[in-house]
């Protein structure tokens, strides 16, 4: 006989033991932040000619970390000139020597990994656990990987005599500042290009620290130039006649603008833009790992991830069980001081981003979806948003269609594999997707049909320098990582 009405527990109530983890802050004195920074052009820090300056702020405390130069059009001109001048030097080196510079950069990054991790956490607001265990190891690995390509390009499958494109203008976002720098600079340099890179205005510090890494590596002046600034600075860079290639990671809106700007020119372009990834959970999924994958998919880096699994598509038969487990798991996430080694969820990168998240979450509520948030203390200072799960979300809801770029999950259901595919692909984006099932043939069936550049099966948000990354449709074009990541930086000749 089964008692379906039991409410009392078989075990008498225990006095619930408490075990609070004491604060475990990562020492901050590893980093030495200057009060102000110039532009890194031609191997040295210079004051802007026609630009101004702006402050970069710690998102978790709103403390001003440093004053940073804002490059104007003349500064961009100077930086592109320095890169052009250095291009001769750089391509004059043997490919093997260029590769050795990249190996040096990789090694110095490994040596200074903790310092750079702390700096990233301070400037970005993401937890030290992630900068230490994810960002920095991947940054070093990326340089290490592309270092080895420098003298093997003729074997890379892009024709017998691939040549560098020239000077690359690169614009990166604030969500993985140093990692995105690595994704841009490592392949560009390996292929013999020189670069002018603009970090995001809210997270310039690790790029500026990278300038110091270049100094330690004795990289020839002008091979890497770092110009700080906001959208206007980026526009000057994209429009400059002296650059041969633009590589952009950021919003789809800005990506389209750049594509329009480059229309009719000979500049090459790669775009890595937004996403609204479906994470598809079948009823036979390894459920506990799937819950981990969902959590990792949307709460990793506060959801500030273009490939975040922001749309959870759960087979209706396991919807309640999955959501229940998911909530329990989210209840164990620790939100707070990003420098605390036990923090899982850090600060939202900027007040603008927080406003955008808040606005979209409000729209979700207005549209009738059910919002759930765990009980969690929000620090007084800084910008924060608690992990949020929306259930009862319809496919047409804004929170199911627009990229929120925050720790907000929309849960939808499906009944059959066909329906899962249809819903997963029903978006202008196509960056990533997840699928969870123990059935091998179904994984491959799904992987073949999902219109996304990266498909994580029974895992999510994994990255590796050997693995090509990039989108379908409005998530952009071109690939970063792996052999494919070389192609945007090479002139290959032929009729292609």
């Amino acid at each position: 006989m089964t008692d379906t009405t039991t409410t009392t527990e078989a075990v008498p109530d225990l006095v619930t033991p408490t075990w609070e983890y004491a604060p475990a802050p990562q020492a901050r004195d590893l980093v030495d932040i200057a009060s102000s920074y110039g532009l890194f052009i031609g191997g040295e820090f210079v004051d802007p000619i026609d630009g101004g300056s702006f402050k970069t702020v710690s998102p978790s405390s709103e403390e001003v970390l440093a004053e940073v130069a804002e490059a104007g059009s003349e500064d961009i001109d100077r930086a592109v000139g320095a890169a052009r001048k250095a291009h001769g030097t750089w391509t004059g080196l043997s490919p093997a020597e260029r590769g050795k510079y990249l190996y040096r950069l990789a090694r110095i990054i490994q040596e200074r990994a903790r310092e750079l991790a702390v700096l990233e956490t301070l400037d970005n607001g993401k937890p030290i656990k992630e900068t230490r265990d994810v960002d920095l190891p991947l940054v070093a690995a990326h340089f290490f990987y592309y270092a080895g390509w420098a003298d093997k390009l003729q074997w890379a499958g892009f024709g017998p005599d691939p040549q560098p494109v020239g000077v690359a203008g690169q614009i990166i976002p604030w969500n993985f500042p140093l990692l995105m720098l690595a994704w841009k600079i490592a392949p560009a340099l390996a292929c013999g290009n020189t670069v002018v890179l603009k970090p995001a205005e809210t997270t310039p510090l690790t790029a500026l620290a990278f300038a110091d890494v270049c100094r330690q590596a004795d990289l020839p002046p002008g091979v890497v130039n770092i110009v700080t600034g906001a959208g206007e600075t980026g526009r000057h860079l994209v429009e400059h006649d002296g650059i041969d290639k633009v590589a952009f990671t950021g919003s789809t809106e800005v990506g389209k603008e750049i594509q329009r700007t480059l229309a009719g020119t000979e500049k090459r372009l790669t775009l890595e833009l937004g996403g609204k990834a479906a994470n598809v959970i079948f009823e036979d999924a390894p459920i506990d790992q799937a819950v981990e994958g969902i959590v990792n998919g949307i709460f990793f880096n506060q959801g500030h991830v273009c490939c975040a699994g922001s749309r959870l598509l759960v087979q209706e038969s396991v919807h309640d069980a999955v959501v229940e487990r998911l909530k329990r798991r989210i209840g164990t996430l620790r939100l707070g001081d990003p420098l605390d080694k036990n923090t899982d969820i850090g600060a939202i990168n900027s007040s603008q981003q927080l406003s955008k998240i808040t606005e979209l979450v409000a729209s979700g509520r207005d549209e009738g979806a059910d919002a759930w948030q765990p009980a969690c203390d929000i620090p007084d200072k800084g910008w924060w948003f608690p992990p949020t799960v929306f259930t009862n979300v319809s496919q047409s809801s804004r929170i199911a269609r627009e990229e929120i770029f925050g720790p907000v999950l929309s849960v939808l259901t499906f009944r059959t594999p066909d329906e899962a595919i249809e819903k997963a692909n029903n978006t202008p984006y196509g960056l990533s997707a997840g699928v969870w099932t123990e059935k091998g043939s179904r994984i491959l069936w799904m992987a073949q049909r999902l219109r996304a550049g990266v498909v994580w099966a029974n895992t999510f948000n994994r990255f590796d320098p050997t693995s090509p990354f990039g989108g379908y449709k409005e998530s952009g074009f071109g690939r970063e990582g792996g052999r494919h990541g070389l192609e945007p930086y090479l002139r290959t000749g032929g009729q292609a």
């Binding site: 789809t252 594509q259 229309a263 992987a447 498909v455 693995s467």
Partner: protein, 287 residues
């Protein structure tokens, strides 16, 4: 007594059918010297729209077909074309104003180009795909997949070989195409449609429009259900506006060359890859 020729009516090729332009318009196709050859359909933006719909509808079947099957279909096109090489030689000679020998050579090259591409159907993913050595317990592979619906402009000069050299690399990977034939030399392309229609090429995989590039191009460039646009056929033209329109849904754009290349030279498989997307799949390895 000589017999009066029965002339062919050239129409459009959309979704495997041969409709007239919905606009009811046509224009004169002539020899380079200006002699009348035939009336070609002057396609409208609505024809372009219909062609995109047909192309989209054909994507699942064609991209889902096995590579072997696509190769066989493309080879079948070559077989069918071979059987009609004299007709095409005459048409190319008339339309391009070249001698029969030169025209024949072009037809032969066009046939061989289909054969060449047929062979790539089950090989391009092997030269471009990879098993990536992840630093961890994962199996990870990358494969090129068709991008979807491609809008293309066939070369203006080389009306058959150029056309084939643009279309074959697009469709071999599983894309479908809406292609605007050479504006002034549209006839061989439309005759090729008859070959395609009898070569097991599923309806909608290749859709051919004839007419004004200036009229059709903006609509195709701006179309939100077109994934990529191949401007190769617009050599030497300023395509700035088209490229700007293409940005609205982040189309993959193949820019036009400064001048039309010589299509006789060996093609490059990397042109096939221009219309593919690299998909990377991860899976853990464990027991």
């Amino acid at each position: 007594m000589s017999r009066l020729d029965v002339k062919k009516t050239y129409k459009l090729f959309i979704g495997g059918s041969f409709p007239r332009s919905e606009s009811g318009r046509s224009y004169e196709a002539t020899t380079p010297a200006g002699d009348f050859l035939a009336n070609a359909a002057l396609a409208s933006r609505k024809d372009a729209r219909d062609a995109v719909v047909a192309a989209r509808k054909a994507v699942p079947g064609w991209s889902g077909a096995t590579a072997y099957n696509r190769g066989q279909v493309l080879y079948r096109v070559a077989e069918m074309l071979e059987g009609r090489r004299d007709q095409f030689a005459a048409e190319v000679a008339a339309g391009e104003g070249v001698a029969e020998d030169a025209a024949s050579a072009q037809v032969d090259a066009a046939i061989d180009r289909w054969v060449w591409h047929a062979g790539w159907s089950d090989k391009f993913s092997q030269i471009d795909g990879a098993a990536n050595p992840i630093a961890g317990p994962y199996f990870n592979f990358s494969v090129p997949e068709p991008t979807g619906v491609v809008a293309a402009f066939a070369p203006q000069g080389s009306s058959l070989l150029g056309f084939v050299s643009v279309v074959a690399p697009i469709v071999v990977s599983g894309n479908t195409v809406v292609v605007v034939a050479s504006e002034e030399r549209p006839l061989p392309a439309m005759s090729l449609a008859e070959v395609l229609a009898t070569s097991d090429v599923p309806g909608g995989v290749v859709n051919i429009l004839t007419g004004s590039v200036d009229e059709l191009a903006p609509h195709l460039a701006a179309h939100m259900d077109v994934n990529a646009i191949d401007l190769t056929g617009l050599a030497g033209r300023d395509t700035t506006d088209l490229e700007r329109e293409a940005a609205e849904n982040v189309k993959r754009v193949v820019r036009p060359p400064a001048e039309e290349p010589s299509w006789e030279q060996v093609a490059d498989p990397r042109r096939i890859l221009r219309f593919t997307e690299t998909k990377t799949v991860w899976h853990p390895m464990g027991i």
